[in-house]
């Protein structure tokens, strides 16, 4: 592999905890890093592959210690890219990370293009295309749940299921084709009722997979939640408490007009982007409706609403007014705050829309009940998007499109089979669906349908 450039990049999303990894891949990875580290028993040149060691990173030009980092070596071909790979695990925050990267680049590495590590892994035959998407998700996974889903997918559970649907459709296509190409050989028309039932069943299966893809997207990108409540119920306090709890807060970014504050926090496994509506209802705002419209818009865009109520007071007209804005399908978590104070709010008084959701009593001040909120929200994802027991699917936008198209093709097939058209039309749609499913995990159609015909039907005069 001589002649290949050595690439380097910061590999983990910068953010949580300020920890980042600089990854190098290529033939010069070892000498470049050796140039930045001290000679000794832990010299990267002499250490065996797949070892990690705390190593001092020194600027060769000045001799100044830049960071003390965990340096992991994975030698070719037993690495992700099948090239020599080194990971430098810095833990001193962004500026140091940049400084180390600059040293690596000065040492002869080139800054990697986005996705270039995965591209190299793919081109070296280390991973196949069907795994690539999952692996990309895995690398980028921001949460444990995402990592689990991606790992399970890399093992091929999803492909297996889609392949099963695809096989069923190939069988159907074979029947349709046999009915067309061998109609003069005692092969009758396909039983219309059974055809419809089979297509419907596969369609429903795909529908369910799509829900899991949606769920995967949520795990991958995180949930968006809106936190609402009348003034002084403790919204800001709750948000801060959640952020403290996980030490995962990315700096709150004030909205341009200071009326929306966004924070990213981890609730259990799941990254949640929370929009704080503090300041929406500016006292003296004469146009009440304007606030309501804004709230509605925020609600529509969110996966989840966290309704904060003050448990130390009885339910107020303003609380009810706010709840009145919720749509029927809004998913609500009611956080009855200030549980450290004597409780006056009777949960039974809450409207059905709220009672149907999750209700947690907590205290932003003491931290009591925050874990219930986290667990509750994590559980909500399942409730939100999918049946229980089924893992989320990490799919790329292209793959999600493949499933959506497959579903649409099957609907077309159903419509065609209900009309008075022939098998040749139903077949157009069924084959389309096979192509889309095949593309999801990588296959060819043509010959397979023919082979299926010959193995299943007695054809030939």
């Amino acid at each position: 592999m001589s002649g290949t450039e050595t690439i380097a990049a910061i590999s983990t999303p910068i953010g949580p905890g300020g920890i980042g990894i600089i990854r190098l891949s290529g033939p010069a990875a070892l000498p470049i890093v050796a140039g930045l580290t001290s000679v000794g028993p832990n010299d990267v040149n002499t250490r065996p592959s797949h070892t990690t060691s705390l190593t001092k990173i020194i600027d060769p030009a000045t001799g100044v210690l830049v960071d003390e980092a965990l340096v992991t070596i994975m030698k070719a071909p037993n690495s992700y890219t099948r090239e020599d790979v080194i990971e430098i695990n810095c833990h001193s925050g962004m500026p140091t990370l940049r400084a180390v990267l600059n040293l690596v680049l000065a040492g002869g590495a080139r800054l990697a293009e986005p996705g270039e590590f995965t591209k190299r892994a793919f081109l070296s035959g280390r991973i196949d295309l069907t795994q690539a998407q999952a692996v990309i998700s895995l690398i980028e996974a921001q949460s444990d749940a995402a990592a689990r889903a991606a790992a399970s997918q890399a093992e091929g559970h999803v492909s297996a299921r889609i392949n099963a649907y695809r096989q069923e459709l190939i069988g159907l296509a074979a029947e349709l084709e046999a009915a067309i190409d061998f109609s003069d050989e005692e092969i009758g028309p396909v039983d219309a009722g059974r055809l419809r039932r089979q297509i419907e069943a596969v369609g429903e299966g795909i529908e369910e997979l799509l829900k899991r893809v949606e769920q995967g997207r949520i795990i991958d990108n995180g949930l968006t939640a809106v936190i609402v409540g009348r003034p002084n119920v403790g919204k800001s306090s709750l948000l801060n408490a959640l952020a403290m709890e996980d030490k995962a807060i990315v700096s709150p970014q004030p909205g341009t007009t200071r009326d929306v504050v966004e924070s990213r926090v981890m609730l259990g496994d799941v990254p949640v982007q929370i929009k704080d509506t503090a300041g929406w209802r500016v006292p003296g705002d004469d146009i009440e409706t304007q606030g309501i419209i804004k709230t509605q818009a925020a609600l529509a865009a969110a996966d989840l609403v966290i309704l904060v109520l003050d448990g130390s007071e009885s339910l107020k007209a303003e609380d009810l007014e706010l709840i009145g804005v919720f749509k029927k399908n809004t998913v609500v978590v009611a956080a009855i705050n200030k549980s450290d104070l004597p409780q006056r709010l009777n949960a039974d008084d809450l409207p059905i829309a709220v009672k149907d959701g999750l209700i947690v009593r907590l205290s932003a001040r003491t931290g009591d009940g925050l874990d219930s909120l986290s667990a509750g929200v994590a559980g909500m994802i399942g409730r939100l998007k999918s049946a229980e027991g089924n893992e989320a699917i990490m799919a790329g936008a292209q793959q999600e499109q493949d499933l959506i198209r497959a579903k649409a093709s099957l609907s077309g097939a159903l419509a065609a089979s209900a009309g008075s058209y022939g098998e040749e039309i139903v077949s157009v749609f069924v084959k389309e669906a096979i192509v889309h499913l095949g593309r999801f995990c990588g296959h060819d159609v043509g010959e397979e349908v023919l082979s299926e015909i010959f193995s299943r039907f007695c054809i030939g005069k």
Binding site: E5, S124, G125, D128, G419, G422, E424, G442, H443, D444
Partner: protein, 623 residues
């Protein structure tokens, strides 16, 4: 001038491929020599006495539309004709005719002899060699030599042909004709790689020995049907029936008891045969729960002499063949006239050919027909026509003709041959054509006749007829678009469309399955438009939405087609599967689209290729 040893084109073979090739070459102005081992067996049908069928019928229409002979020849010599898939959509309907096989052959020979630019000569070719830069030389067993710019090899099942009945094996090209023993070697010396296939045919019985009353008569259609766009067909023409009967438990027992004698079991035939023409032995083995298989009894001509037993293909020993036949209802007294047999033969691995059917290795050397691994008269004729046209174009110094997959079944056939791994004799099916809804029997003329006309194979009159059909169709469509129909005015239909608006465009009404063009003829004033054009407009309208889907697919396909593959060192792209690497290296596809059609090359491989050719630093890292 009168040199009887120098030609533009030599066709070796006078089968269905050789005939179309010679006729096309001569009609395009080339001097052609046609050789055959036996010139009394021109355009002979050694297997079923029929032409057309689903997929194959479309090929015949296309051959006719391009200016080939098969359509006209069968129209003039058929004993029965019918539409298959009549209850399905027009895209998958096809004609099939039973031929008087001797008349068919005689008429084709007459046409060859009538062509002044064709010289016909009996003789077995034993050598094909390069003769200088631009010429090839051919030598026959009787010592004659000929040179030509192009040689079209169309030798069918003859190359090292070996006929098998039971345990008996002997050389032969087909029943009653000797094998061709030297052409295989000649082709190999020219650098071509050969494979071996096998095919078999059922026994023929004496027509006087069956009991037709115990079988189901299968008459032809009464309507005026014809393969050729130039002919009209005659309503109520005289036809002959076929008969349908079935095998039974007794038949299957005879076969089971004698399986050890079947060449498939005894191993005396090891070459690969077609899956779609299994012998009755194979059917009984593979489908043990079927208690009967159909047998179609087909006349071989007007004279009531021999009958062909479609469905009883076998090359068991003759005594067993007799028992099998006589176990079938209606055939209890049947007398075999010619036993069934299998034939194994060499063929040219067709990926060594271009889309023009010219070989990559030897300029001027073409191959067409069963020698390219196909089976069937129609497949042979289609290839013969394309090889003949391209040989002529080459002699005339003109651009070659390449028919695209999206244009014709002929394009599908040739593209499959030159790109796909052919591991059994190749036969056309409609399902091989991804653009099936566009490639219909009814519009083959509109698709291909302009090409045939440009080549000089279609008369001005025929071209004008095609133009008129298209013009009439467009006119009809325009009228349908311009006409508003009050649903009230269509009493029969009002009920069905009750839920729709009171006024509709005629064309939208026609899209409904229950509305036909005839219902709208009066209202849309289609009186002056021919029935054919109306029918065309109706099909186009009804299929429009679906055709659009297929055209979208064609467009998507074209994008891949447009991505040329530079000379890629596939061995170095490690992410490709081993199979894909080997096949790509061997077949050397010219475009990504062609690569995608190679069996064993998956879409995943294609995406890898896309990444690799776009990548600045491909794996292996030349930069």
């Amino acid at each position: 001038m009168n040199d009887n040893t120098r030609y533009d084109i030599i066709t070796i073979g006078a089968g269905h491929a050789g005939c179309e090739a010679a006729l096309a070459g001569a009609r395009m102005g080339c001097k052609v020599m046609m050789t055959a081992i036996n010139i009394d067996r021109i355009a002979h049908m050694p297997c079923n006495p029929s032409i057309g069928g689903i997929g194959k019928g479309q090929l015949v229409r296309e051959v006719d539309a391009l200016g080939g002979e098969m359509g006209r020849n069968i129209d003039a010599t058929l004993v029965q004709i019918k539409t298959l898939n009549g209850s399905k959509g027009p895209a998958v309907q096809a004609l099939r005719a039973q031929a008087d096989k001797r008349q068919y052959s005689r008429l084709m020979k007459a046409k060859i002899l009538a062509e002044p630019k064709i010289g016909l000569r009996q003789g077995e070719v034993v050598a094909i060699e390069r003769a200088g830069e631009e010429e090839l030389q051919v030598r026959t067993a009787d010592g004659a030599t000929f040179t030509a710019k192009c040689v079209i090899v169309a030798t069918g099942t003859f190359l090292k042909g070996e006929m098998v009945i039971g345990e008996i094996k002997r050389p032969g090209g087909r029943a009653g004709e000797s094998a061709s023993s030297f052409v295989s070697g000649a082709l190999q010396r020219l650098g071509l790689e050969l494979g071996r296939f096998q095919s078999a045919t059922p026994p023929r019985i004496w027509a006087g020995s069956i009991d037709a009353t115990r079988m189901i008569a299968q008459p032809g259609d009464v309507g005026p049907l014809a393969f050729s766009f130039a002919g009209a067909g005659r309503r109520g023409r005289r036809q002959k029936d076929c008969y349908l009967t079935y095998t039974n438990k007794k038949t299957h027992k005879v076969i089971a008891d004698n399986l050890h004698l079947s060449p498939i079991k005894s191993g005396s035939v090891s070459a690969k045969g077609p899956r779609y023409c299994p012998s009755i032995d194979r059917k009984v083995i593979n489908f043990p729960d079927r208690d009967r298989h159909p047998v179609f009894v087909e006349p071989e001509g007007w004279e009531n002499e021999e009958l062909y037993l479609q469905g009883l293909t076998t090359s068991m020993p003759i005594t067993v063949q007799e028992k099998i036949i006589r176990s079938v209802e209606g055939l209890e007294q049947a007398r075999i006239m010619r036993p069934g047999y299998a034939v194994a033969y060499d063929f040219v691995l067709p990926h060594q050919l271009k889309n023009t059917l010219e070989s990559n290795a030897v300029p001027g050397l073409f191959a067409a027909g069963q020698i390219n691994g196909t089976s069937g008269y129609e497949e042979a004729a289609a290839q013969g026509l394309i090889a003949g046209i391209n040989a002529a174009l080459k002699c005339l110094g003109k651009e070659p003709l390449i028919v695209e997959r999206s244009q014709a079944y002929i394009g599908v056939l040739i593209d499959d041959l030159v790109t796909k791994e052919i591991d059994e004799p190749y036969r056309m099916f409609t399902s091989r054509a991804e653009y099936r809804l566009v490639l219909r029997s009814d519009n083959a003329d509109i698709r291909l006749t302009p090409i045939g006309h440009r080549l000089g194979l279609i008369s001005d009159g025929q071209m004008e007829k095609t133009r008129k059909k298209r013009r009439g169709t467009d006119e009809c469509l325009a009228k349908l678009k311009a006409t508003s129909v009050r649903t009230l005015d269509l009493p029969g239909i009002a009920v069905v469309v009750a839920a729709s608006p009171a006024v509709l465009k005629a064309i939208d009404l026609l899209r409904r399955p229950e509305v036909t063009i005839d219902t709208l003829a009066k209202i849309a004033r289609l009186g002056k438009i021919t029935k054919e054009s109306r029918h065309q407009a109706e099909i186009e309208t009804k299929y429009e939405g679906y055709i659009k889907r297929q055209l979208d697919q064609i467009a998507a396909q074209k994008r891949l087609e447009g991505v040329r593959l530079p000379s890629v060192d596939y061995a170095r792209i490690e992410a490709l599967s081993m199979e894909a690497r080997q096949k790509l290296a061997r077949i050397k596809p010219q475009s990504l689209g062609q690569a995608a059609r190679i069996a064993g090359v998956t879409p995943a491989d294609i995406s890898i290729l896309m990444v690799a050719i776009r990548s600045k630093t491909p794996a292996g890292g030349e930069n």
